[in-house]
């Protein structure tokens, strides 16, 4: 049997691991709790052939493996976040044994507790604003001259710039409206159209940390904004565990 390590999914507070009801993690390892001073690290055993440094280096390059690992990690985080304040770990945080986990939770106790204080009772929403897909241009007569060609190109570029500016303004208004209902927000880099499947330009990609009791109000406001700003595409998803807000503050 390959050497085993302990994969840490998330750190929770006040979680009774029995509530997870025999939840299985990556590679069908049983998810167990490692306690340290009120914090509970959720761990399961993984093969170091697969999750050790060598194995990871190869596996992270394989999209099918990466998706399996990300989905497996997310499943445990989602299950925990449904029942207790949960700070998700970054993908692939692996310890040699439970003593290592316990030691690290002890050393980082106050910083992890601060993250849990911030996210407790909150959920994450993702909101993206994209420009609308362009219609296929109507085939035109070929330009009659170089000057005609240049004129058309300049008109096209001016139209695109105006559209982009308008979309940026809409995104700012959407953001201002949403941030009023959120405890925190974080702007994320726009995603490449080839990754998202949208052909429009992503002018806004942000995560909002929303108090659970404002979740319905947040949804309703998203509905209003979608109706008010039909010139852009507002792609909203959630609620999710508070992934984007589980960063330890710098010491």
């Amino acid at each position: 049997m390959a050497e085993q390590g302990r994969y840490l999914y998330a750190v929770c507070r006040g979680l009774d691991v029995d509530e997870l009801d025999g939840l299985l993690g990556l590679g069908d390892g049983l998810v167990e709790g490692v306690e340290s001073d009120g914090l509970v690290g959720l761990v399961s055993s993984v093969d170091l052939d697969e999750f050790g440094e060598e194995g990871l280096r190869c596996n992270l390059e394989r999209l099918d493996w990466l998706e399996m690992a990300a989905r497996g990690h997310d499943a445990v985080v989602q299950a925990a976040a449904a029942v207790a304040p949960t700070a998700p770990m970054r993908l692939a945080t692996i310890f040699r044994d439970d003593d290592g986990v316990r030691r690290r939770l002890g050393e980082q106790h106050d910083r992890i507790a601060a993250v849990l204080d911030r996210v407790e009772g909150h959920e994450e929403w993702s909101v993206k604003v994209l420009t609308r897909d362009h219609e296929e241009p109507v085939p035109e007569e070929p330009p009659s001259s170089g000057a005609e060609y240049l004129r058309r190109r300049q008109e096209e570029q001016a139209a695109q710039q105006t559209e982009r500016r308008d979309a940026d303004e809409v995104a700012e208004q959407v953001h201002r409206s949403l941030v009023g209902l959120a405890a925190a927000s974080r702007r994320l880099p726009p995603q490449d159209p080839r990754l998202t499947g949208h052909s429009g330009t992503m002018v806004h990609n942000a995560a909002y940390l929303v108090p659970r009791d404002l979740s319905d109000a947040f949804s309703a406001r998203l509905g209003d904004l979608t109706g008010d700003y039909r010139e852009v595409l507002i792609d909203a998803r959630g609620p999710w565990p508070p992934y984007s807000f589980a960063m330890l503050e710098e010491q």
């Binding site: 770990m89 945080t93 040699r96 290592g100 690290r104 499947g197 998803r237």
Partner: protein, 69 residues
């Protein structure tokens, strides 16, 4: 059709209380870019993930392009 395109079609119905599945690209942005990072006596930790992430993106891009062919 991707999940993202499906959700775009379903715009305006985002008010449901059901948790929606996270698109892989969004999940990877979060699992590789945010989350608690513990280093020190940790055996493995993707603290310096930039290189990995860039290669990942290249990989996903390749897959998308192949799908579109």
């Amino acid at each position: 059709m991707t999940a993202t395109q499906l959700s775009a079609r379903a715009e305006g119905r985002s008010g449901s209380r059901e948790t929606q599945p996270i698109a892989l690209v969004d999940l990877l942005d979060r699992l590789l870019g945010t989350g608690v990072v513990l280093s020190g006596d940790v055996l493995i930790s993707l603290a310096g993930v930039d290189l990995v992430e860039i290669r990942l993106r290249a990989l996903i891009r390749t897959v998308r392009e192949e799908e579109q062919r």
